[in-house]
Structures are given as structure tokens and as C-alpha cells.
């Protein structure tokens, strides 16, 4: 039984500007922390909470005490405005960020798919790239061998597979990346925005492949700003605001909370921007 259980998950980012990364500045950081927390006290609609962590470090509380339980079959859509912690949560689910406190317990192998072209080398051939990317995704030699024909069929790249991908058009490279990434059905799939591939003629085939890929995944967690995409793929929604979990439940309920609670605030902010008078000549 696949599942992801989060227990009071906290994730904080230390903020270093280029100067602070150098040795001599780490001795004067406290003053800076004070200044930044003053700025942070102003009203803000985006981003996590900014504060001073231990040892006077400036930290952004990206995830602030999240508890949840995702079970097999769940298709979870993450909602929230920019900087609410969606991507951080996805990366924490994938085990890339380890929580500062609290814990994430996953039963099943998490497959994060953030950058379709990660691990692809412009100077290597299509075939070599299938190996590279496959290895990076943690596939075994046999899995890659099995997938090779399938990928060649699907991409219709033919002899191009033996050319360096430098010679590919953007669309062709994307096709290849998409085909490799969807070659193996993952247990738990984590997506930041919907993936897709290629030119108009290719889109229906890509859609069919994507549908079966997403449908056969045990658990899907996807962050998106598009309600259409979330409504198409998800049955549950999770709403984040400033790193806190605001709502988690059936998608429609969460979407309506999101639309009533978060969107008006954003609109108000947008109005303010519009109403600001232009500077005097």
C-alpha cells in the first residue's frame, strides 16, 4: 500500500547573498538579520515567513508545520500563490530537502519529474541520452534496454536517434525527453506543473501516453496554477499559504476555498499596483 505521511513538517531556507557566502561576512550577519526582519514585517502576500533562525541566520520558513496523509490512488493538486511552498513541498516529498523538524514517511518509491531534460547532454546522441537520463532516473540497465524500442517507436525520431541532440529541433529534443521520462510507470509521481511535449501533430499521441502514464501511477502529486489541469487530473486538493497547510480534501472544496480566500487578496494587490499614480514628470 503506497502512502505519504507528513508529520509536523518544517522546512527553512537560510538566505545567503553573494557577500554572505564568503567567510569574512559570516561574522557580521546579525545586523543584516535585523534589517531584513524589519522589511519582512510589512504586509506581504507572497512568499514564506521571513525570520531570524538560530545563530542569527536569516531564514525563510518555507514549510511551517505541515501534517497530512496521502494514500494510494490519491491524485493531489497543490494550490497556492507564488512562494506559498508548493515547490518546496514537492521537493520535500521527493526527499531532496530534509525537514528541519518533523518527518515525511513514504511507502513507495518517489519519482520527481521537475526538469524533463535533466541529465541530457547536447553533444551525445539520442541513444546515449536515453542511457544517461535513464540512469539518472534510477532505471536499471534492463529497464532501459526494454524501454529503448518503445521510446524509438513513440518519438518517431528514426535515424536521428544516432545523431547528437545538438542537431535536434527544440520540439524533437522535448519529444525525446518526454518519452524517456514517461517510459517507466512510477509508484509515486511528483510534478511541478504539467509536463507535455512537442508540436501540434504530436500532441494527441503525447496526450494519450501522458494519460496512461498518469493513470497508472500509484500516487500523483502535482502543483499547478491552472484549475483546468487540476480538475482534469486530481481528485484531492491541498492549499498552502505562506508555508502553512490551509486546506486538504476533495478538490472542489479546496478550489472554492482557494478562489474565495486567496484570489481576492491577489486581485486587491493587483488593483493597488494599477492605482499607483505615475511619477510626476
Amino acid at each position: 500500500m503506497l502512502s505519504i505521511i507528513g508529520k509536523d513538517v518544517h522546512v527553512e531556507f537560510p538566505i545567503y547573498d553573494p557577500r554572505m557566502r564568503s567567510l569574512k561576512y559570516s561574522f557580521g550577519i546579525k545586523h543584516l538579520a535585523k534589517g531584513i526582519s524589519r522589511i519582512a514585517a510589512r504586509d506581504r502576500n507572497v512568499g514564506g515567513q521571513i525570520g531570524a533562525g538560530e545563530a542569527g541566520r536569516i531564514v525563510v520558513k518555507a514549510l511551517d508545520g505541515l501534517s497530512f496523509e496521502i494514500s494510494e490512488g490519491d491524485r493531489v493538486g497543490l494550490l497556492g500563490h507564488n512562494g506559498s511552498g508548493k515547490t518546496t513541498l514537492l521537493r520535500t516529498l521527493a526527499g531532496i530537502y530534509e525537514p528541519v523538524s518533523g518527518a515525511i514517511q513514504t511507502n513507495g518509491r518517489v519519482f520527481p519529474l521537475f526538469d524533463l531534460q535533466l541529465g541530457m547532454d547536447q553533444d551525445a546522441t539520442g541513444i546515449e541520452n536515453i542511457w544517461m537520463r535513464g540512469k539518472m532516473l534510477g532505471l536499471s540497465t534492463n529497464q532501459i534496454k526494454d524501454a529503448l524500442d518503445d521510446i524509438a517507436d513513440f518519438t518517431e525520431l528514426g535515424d536521428y536517434l544516432y545523431m547528437p541532440i545538438r542537431a535536434y529541433s527544440t520540439g524533437m529534443a522535448l519529444r525525446l525527453a518526454f518519452a524517456i521520462s514517461t517510459a517507466i510507470i512510477p509508484e509515486i509521481l511528483v510534478l511541478d506543473e504539467m509536463i507535455g511535449a512537442g508540436d501540434a501533430a504530436f500532441i494527441s499521441r503525447a496526450d494519450a501516453r501522458l494519460k496512461s502514464f498518469l493513470a497508472r501511477t500509484g500516487i500523483l502529486v502535482i502543483a499547478s496554477h491552472s484549475m483546468a489541469i487540476l480538475r482534469q487530473w486530481c481528485n484531492k486538493g491541498m492549499l498552502l499559504e505562506q508555508g502553512k497547510l490551509v486546506a486538504f480534501g476533495p478538490l472542489e472544496n479546496v478550489v472554492s476555498i482557494y478562489e474565495s480566500k486567496v484570489l481576492p487578496k491577489n486581485d486587491a494587490a493587483a488593483d493597488l499596483l494599477v492605482l499607483t499614480p505615475p511619477p510626476a514628470p
Partner: protein, 267 residues
């Protein structure tokens, strides 16, 4: 700051273990790095071998003229020494940029950090392997016969590589956090080049011989260089390098365990 929890040690053990057991991935990535250097270049990594040859040619003569040793002695000596010195400096310098260079992977997929360390060390061993050709040519030319102590040579090389791995790991972790450390390390290594008997023999230091004796790199180099030249490393060399490997890794492991989970936040 320095508090270390059992959980951190546990996860670090997991990281190292997972990294070692997925050695195939490191091996694959290392070869991919080397292949990348062959691409679109007729000579590929042979360029490195060529420039190593030129370096040895110059240094061999210079060493003979400056320090008054015979050419047939200085050439193999300088070549064998520089073969390993280049391996040492390249590995530690690459270590300093290790996590920063792999940041794209580290922030996008869950992968043991040890994989990248092994990839880098293995890549540098492959490159050093190319340079062995120069040493073989020189050894044949001057008829240098390796000593029977070559039996233990693989063990010596392994010990040296183990020492290098922890040095690279420490510089990788510190450099991920403090971005001016790579330059600092490059500078320290540049100075160490002069303090390590590579161009000159330790005896030629006369009363200042302690400079070489207290330099850990002297012993690391001697351990793998002497058998090639027909001599044998002293027991002292063995003990010093063994101590560096064991004590170094013990400290490095605790250091790595403490900061491992933070590294991704620093990138």
C-alpha cells in the same frame, strides 16, 4: 552548531552505503565525463597526456640542472611524482566544486551525495590512467625496473585514493557553503607543490628535511612512487598514510553527517 544526532549519523551511513552500492551509476557518469572530453576533438583526453608529457619534459631537465641530479634519475622521479601529484591536486580541486557543479542534479532528484564523490574520484583515476603512458615511455627509455614491493602497490594506491576522497569531501562541503574556499584550496595546493619533494629529492633539503617529513603529501607520494622507481616506501610512509586515511575519514564522516542534509539548502 556541532551537535550531532544519531539520526544524522544514520542518514549519512545510508548515503555512503547507497552511494557505494550504486557504483555503477558513478562509473557510468565518470565515463560519460571522459567521453565528453573525447567528443568533437580528435585527440580528446590525449591532449591532457600530451601536456603532461611536455610538463615532465620541462621539469625533468629543470630538476636535473637545478638540483644537480642525473637525468636518468630525475626524469622517472619527476614523472612518477607528478603523475600522482596531478591526481591529488585535481581531485581536491574538483572536490571544491563538486556539489556546486552537480547542483542541478542535487536539487532535482534524490541521489546519494556519495555518488558524485565517487564519480569525480573515478574520473580523475581514469584521466591519470592516460598519463601512465608517459611514465611507461620514460621507464622504458631509462630502463627503470620496478621493485618487488610493487606487490603492495595497489594497496598503497587504494590508501592514497581513500585519503584523497575524504580531503575532496571536506573541501566539497565547505565550498558549498563558503564560495571563496575553492580559491583558497587551490592556493594552498600551489604552495604545497613546492614543499613536497617532487622536483627535488628529500635528501637535498639537507637540514631542512623536516619540511618534507612533516608534510603528509610527501608520504602519500612516496608510498606510490617509490615502488615504480625500484625502491620501496618506508614503514613510516605506510603508517603515516594509514593514519591519515583512518583518522581523516573518521573526522570527515562526522563532519559530513552533521552537514549532509544542509548541503542542498546551500546550493
Amino acid at each position: 552548531m556541532l551537535a550531532l544526532t544519531l539520526k544524522q549519523v544514520d542518514s549519512a551511513v545510508d548515503d555512503v552505503w547507497a552511494g557505494i552500492s550504486s557504483w555503477r551509476l558513478s562509473h557510468f557518469l565518470a565515463w560519460q565525463d571522459v567521453r565528453q572530453r573525447y567528443r568533437r576533438s580528435t585527440l580528446g583526453p590525449i591532449w591532457m597526456t600530451l601536456s603532461f608529457g611536455v610538463q615532465i619534459f620541462t621539469m625533468g631537465f629543470l630538476s636535473a640542472f637545478l638540483f644537480g641530479s642525473a637525468l636518468e634519475k630525475s626524469f622517472p622521479y619527476v614523472c612518477a611524482g607528478m603523475l600522482f601529484w596531478n591526481l591529488i591536486t585535481q581531485t581536491i580541486n574538483d572536490g571544491a566544486t563538486l556539489f556546486v557543479a552537480s547542483a542541478r542534479y542535487i536539487t532535482q532528484i534524490k541521489c546519494p551525495l556519495t555518488v558524485f564523490l565517487l564519480q569525480m574520484v573515478w574520473r580523475n583515476l581514469i584521466v591519470a590512467g592516460h598519463n601512465v603512458a608517459i611514465y611507461v615511455a620514460i621507464a622504458l627509455f631509462f630502463l627503470v625496473v620496478p621493485s618487488p614491493s610493487m606487490v603492495l602497490w595497489p594497496l598503497g594506491l587504494l590508501l592514497v585514493v581513500i585519503c584523497l576522497s575524504w580531503m575532496a569531501l571536506v573541501s566539497a562541503v565547505i565550498s558549498a557553503r563558503y564560495r571563496d574556499v575553492p580559491q583558497l584550496i587551490a592556493n594552498i595546493l600551489a604552495i604545497l607543490f613546492w614543499l613536497t619533494p617532487l622536483m627535488y629529492f628529500p635528501e637535498q633539503l639537507g637540514q631542512k628535511r623536516f619540511i618534507a617529513d612533516y608534510n603528509p603529501f610527501t608520504h602519500m607520494i612516496a608510498l606510490v612512487r617509490e615502488p615504480l622507481l625500484g625502491g620501496e616506501p618506508s614503514l613510516n610512509d605506510w603508517l603515516v598514510v594509514l593514519a591519515i586515511a583512518v583518522v581523516g575519514w573518521a573526522g570527515t564522516f562526522l563532519f559530513f553527517a552533521r552537514f549532509r542534509a544542509r548541503i542542498v539548502y546551500w546550493l
